[in-house]
Amino acid sequence: MIMSETQKQKWVGKAVPRKEENRLLRGRGKFADDLKLREMVYLRFVRSPYAHAKIVNIHTSAAEALPGVVAVLTGAEIASQTQPFIEIGPDPCAKIKDYPLAVSKVRYQGEPVAAVVAESAALADDAAELVQVDYEALDPVVDAEDALTDKSILHEEAGTNRIWNGVFEYGDVEQAFKNAAYVVQIKKMHFHRFSSTPLETNVVLAQWDNKDDRIYYWCNNSFPSFAIQFLAAHLGVHIDRIRVETSDIGGSFGIKITSYPQMAVCALASKKAAGRPVKWVETRSEHMTSSAHGNERTFRDTRVALDKNGVITAIASRHIDDCGAYPRYEPLGCVIWSQVFAGVYRFKNARIDFTQAATNKCPVGPNRGYSRMQHLWFLERVVDICAHELKIPADEMRLRNYVRPEEFPYTTPNGCVYDSGNYPKMLEVAKKLIGWDDWKKKQEKARAEGRLIGIGIGTTLDSGTNNFGQSQIVNPGAPFSGNSQGANCKLDIYGEVVVAVGSCPQGQGHETTAAQVVADVLNISPDLITVRTGFDTERNVHTGFSGTYASQFAVSGLSAVHGAAQKLKKEMSRLAAFTLESKEDDVEFGVGQQGPELRANGKSINYWALANIVNVNSAVLPTELHEITLNCRYVWRAPFKVPDKQRKYGNLTLTYASQLHMAVIEVELDTFIPRILDYVAVDDCGTVINPPIVEGQVYGATAHGIGAALMETCVYDAVGNMLTSTFSDYTPITAVNMPKVKYGHIETPSPHSYSGAKGMGEGGAAPIHTISAALQDALFDQGIFIEDSFNNADAIFRAVVGREHGQAANLVKLEKRA
C-alpha cells in the first residue's frame, strides 16, 4: 500500500508554499489576544512571592472598592464551587487537591492566590496590587532529592513528596554484571530545568454565558481535548457545554498544554461577572515563573556493564525526576521516557528505578522532547563516558552499540517497536557534512597548542504518536489507551473542498500538509482546498486525543485527513457514476475548464454540480444513494494494544524518527565561553511530506537545544525564588548566538504510517546531548566530567578553575574484571 500510494503522489513530498503565509506575513494572523468581545473585562492574578507558605488571610476589600473592579476571586471561593482537578497518578498522587488558585497554602513562587477582574487591563493591574495577602512562611524544598526526605511536605493530604516510584527491569541485569569485562560507575548526573517557552504567552478569553449556560473559550491551549476533560470534571459541567476555539497560536512546544487551571479561573470569573467575557493575557514573567517548565532529572549511582569490545550489556541506575509543585500532566513523564528506554542502542538488560518528587518550584509540563530527552541525554552521556574510560573513539563506540539497520523493526527490551532507521548511515552523512577527518586533524593541532576543542556526537530519537495505554503503567486504573485523530473532508454546497482537523498547529504548517494529502487523493491542486485548522469543539472532528503535541501530526493527523479524503472520494465516485451513467471504477478525477471535475463515459461533472445534487437538489437522488452526504468524518486509530502493566512492557509509540547531530566546540581559554565552530544536524523522519517544513522544524528544535545547552536555564535560589523570570535573565537564544547549521537527511520510511512518514518536530533534544559530548571531549583531559546538561561559561569556569563540580576522579570509576 505504501508504495502504490507514494508513487502516485504529486503534491506530497514537494516544497509546496505554506498556505498560512498570506495572513501571517501581512499582520493578519488571528492570535488569541487579538480578539475582543462586547462587555469584555480583564483578569489579573495576584501571585505568591513565597515558594512555600501558609495563607493566613486575604484582604480583598480595597481592591473591590476600586471603581471599575468587577469581581475578585479567591481559592477558597473556587474550592467551595468546584472539584479539585483530576490527578493522573494513583495514591499518594491521587490524594492531592489541586485547585487553580491556592487554597490554604502556596507551593511555589508565582502561584496564583487570587484573581481580580476589572474594566481595563490597567485597572486590573492596579486592583491586584490592592489585594493584601498575609502569609506564614514554611520551609521550602527546591531540590528533588531533599524533597524525598519528606522533612517539609508540600501536599499534606498526600503525606509525602514522593509522587511516583516504579522499577523498570528487563533481561537479566545481575548476570550481565557478573559476566562483564568492564564495569563503569557514574555517581551523579543532572539534567537541568528549562523551558522551550513560546514567544506568545498563554492567553485565555472565557465566557460563562448566562444566556445559554455554556462556557466559551477562545484561547491558545495546545491540547484542548485534554483540557476540556479536566475542566468539565473540575467545573462539574457536561463536557458538551464547553466550547473551545483556537486560531493562530504563537508557539507552544508543549508548554501551552497545561493552561487549563487558568482557563478554569477565567470561566469562574466570568460567571461571577454575570457572564461578561473575561480576558487574561499572561505576562512574560508570569509565564516564566508559573506556566510550566521542563522536567528536571537527577541520575544516581549508574552502573554500566560492558563486554571486552565495549559493547554495553547492562545498565542499572536510579533516576529522580522533579515535577515541581503540582503533578498536573505528571506522573505521565514517569513512563513517557521509557518510549526510548534503550535509546538507539542494543543493550538488553537494564534496571531503572524511577522516582518523581514534588518540590516548591513551578509545575512542569510537557516541554519539547518531553521526558524522553532527559533519558536520551543520560544514555548519550553513558556511551561517551564508557567510550572514554575504555579508550574507544566516540564514533566507534556508537557503531558497536547502535541497533543495526537490518534489525528493524526492532523490539526493545521493554517491548517498544522501532519502526525503521539507519543510525550508522546518519553517522556517515554527518561526518561527511562536518568534515570529520579534517576536524580531527585540526583538533589535534589545536590541542598541541593548548587549546580546548571538542567534537561531539549526539544520537537521539523523536518518538511520535503515543500509546496512551502507557498511562496504565503509572496508574493501573487509568482509563486511557491507544491514540486517535479525527478529520473531516467535505464538498460544500457550492462545491468547495473543505478539510477540518482536530489539531491546533503553532507553525507546523498543518494547513499546507493537509491540503497536500487531499490534493493527491482528489488529483487537484492544494490551492483549491480550504483547510480549517485551529481547534473547535463544535466542528466535531476531534477525538479525546486531539491537539498538537508529541510529534504526531504527520502520522495521526494526516492519516485522519487521508482517510476522510478517501471516504469523500468514494462518495464522489459513486455519485458521479450515477450521473454520468458509468461504472464507479471508470470515474476519473481531474481539473477541467470549469475547475475540478469528475469524468467518465465521455462526459464530466464538476464539483459544484455534484454538491448541488446532494445538498439542494436531492429529489433527483435514488434511494440507494441517500447515504451519500459528501461530508465525511474519519477517525484514524493507531494499532496499539494495552501494555502489560506488571511487566511495564508493550509498544508505547508508533514511529521513531531519529536525529544525529555533531558539533565542534572550543572553550575559550581566558573567558571559558564555549564557542560552536561547526554544527551538523542529520534527520530521519521517514517519508517527508513537505521538505522545507521539516527542515524548519529541525532548525527550530536545534535552536531550542543549543539554547538549552548553553544559555537557557530556570534558576531557583535556596528558598525557591525564581531568578530567571524575565527574558533578560533567561536569555532565549538569539540570531547572534545561533550557529549556522548544516542540514542533512536520510529517509527510512515507516511501515507504520500510510505515507511512510514519521512524526517529528520535537527533535529529541539532540543539541543538548551533542554539546555535552563535545564539551566532554574538550575537557576530559582537564579531569572534567560533564555532569550537567547546562554548560555556560560560568558553569565551565566553576568546573575547570573552581573545581566546584564535575571532577571526574570523584564521579567516574572504571572497574576492569579479570
Partner: protein, 167 residues
C-alpha cells in the same frame, strides 16, 4: 489607591493615516496600536525590550513599542506590519520571508520584517554579520533563525535589484 491622571492629547501618523488621540500617560505605544487602533499585527512577547515582537518603525527607525510610551510618539510617523504592503501588493521583504520559509507560527515575523526593513533601508549589501546584528533584538522561538537569515538575504537581493524602489 492610584490617582486619576489627566490624559494627554497626541497626534501621530500611523501607516499614512493621521490620528488624533488622547492617551493615559502610562499607556504604551504597543497598547495604543493594538487596543486603540486595532492594529493587532504588532505583538507582545516579553514586555521588557528583549524579544522585538513589538517592533515598529517610528520616524523610520525600528523601535520596540513595548518600551515607548504612547505620548512619546506624539508628532511621529509610525509604520506597522499592516502598513508594509502597498495596495495589496506584498513588499519584497514579505515575499522573501514567504519564499524562504522564514516563519513558522508567525508571531515574531512582523517585528523581524520591520527590523529587516530598517537594515535594508540603510545597507544595500549586508554581510551575514550585519544580518545577524540587525535582528539581535528579535527573538524567534520557532525557526532557529536560519530561514529568517535566508529570507533577509533574499530580500536584500530583491530590493537591490529593484533599486530600493519599494522602500
Amino acid at each position: 489607591m492610584p490617582e486619576a491622571v489627566a490624559k494627554i492629547g497626541i497626534k501621530i501618523i500611523v501607516n499614512g493615516k493621521t490620528c488624533s488621540l488622547s492617551v493615559e500617560p502610562r499607556q504604551l505605544l504597543v497598547e495604543l496600536l493594538r487596543e486603540t487602533l486595532d492594529l493587532t499585527g504588532t505583538h507582545v512577547g516579553c514586555d521588557t525590550s528583549y524579544c522585538g515582537a513589538c517592533t515598529v518603525l517610528l520616524n523610520g527607525k525600528a523601535v520596540k513599542s513595548c518600551t515607548v510610551f504612547a505620548f512619546q510618539a506624539d508628532g511621529g510617523e509610525i509604520t506597522t506590519v499592516e502598513g508594509v504592503e502597498k495596495s495589496g501588493n506584498l513588499h519584497p521583504i514579505q515575499k522573501a520571508f514567504g519564499e524562504a520559509y522564514g516563519l513558522q507560527c508567525g508571531y515574531c515575523t512582523p517585528g523581524l520584517m520591520l527590523s529587516t526593513f530598517q537594515l535594508l533601508s540603510k545597507t544595500k549589501d549586508p554581510t551575514e554579520k550585519d544580518l545577524r546584528k540587525a535582528i539581535a533584538g528579535n527573538t524567534c522561538r520557532c525557526t532557529g533563525y536560519q530561514n529568517v537569515l535566508k529570507a533577509m538575504t533574499f530580500a536584500a537581493k530583491a530590493m537591490k535589484e529593484s533599486n530600493g524602489h519599494q522602500v
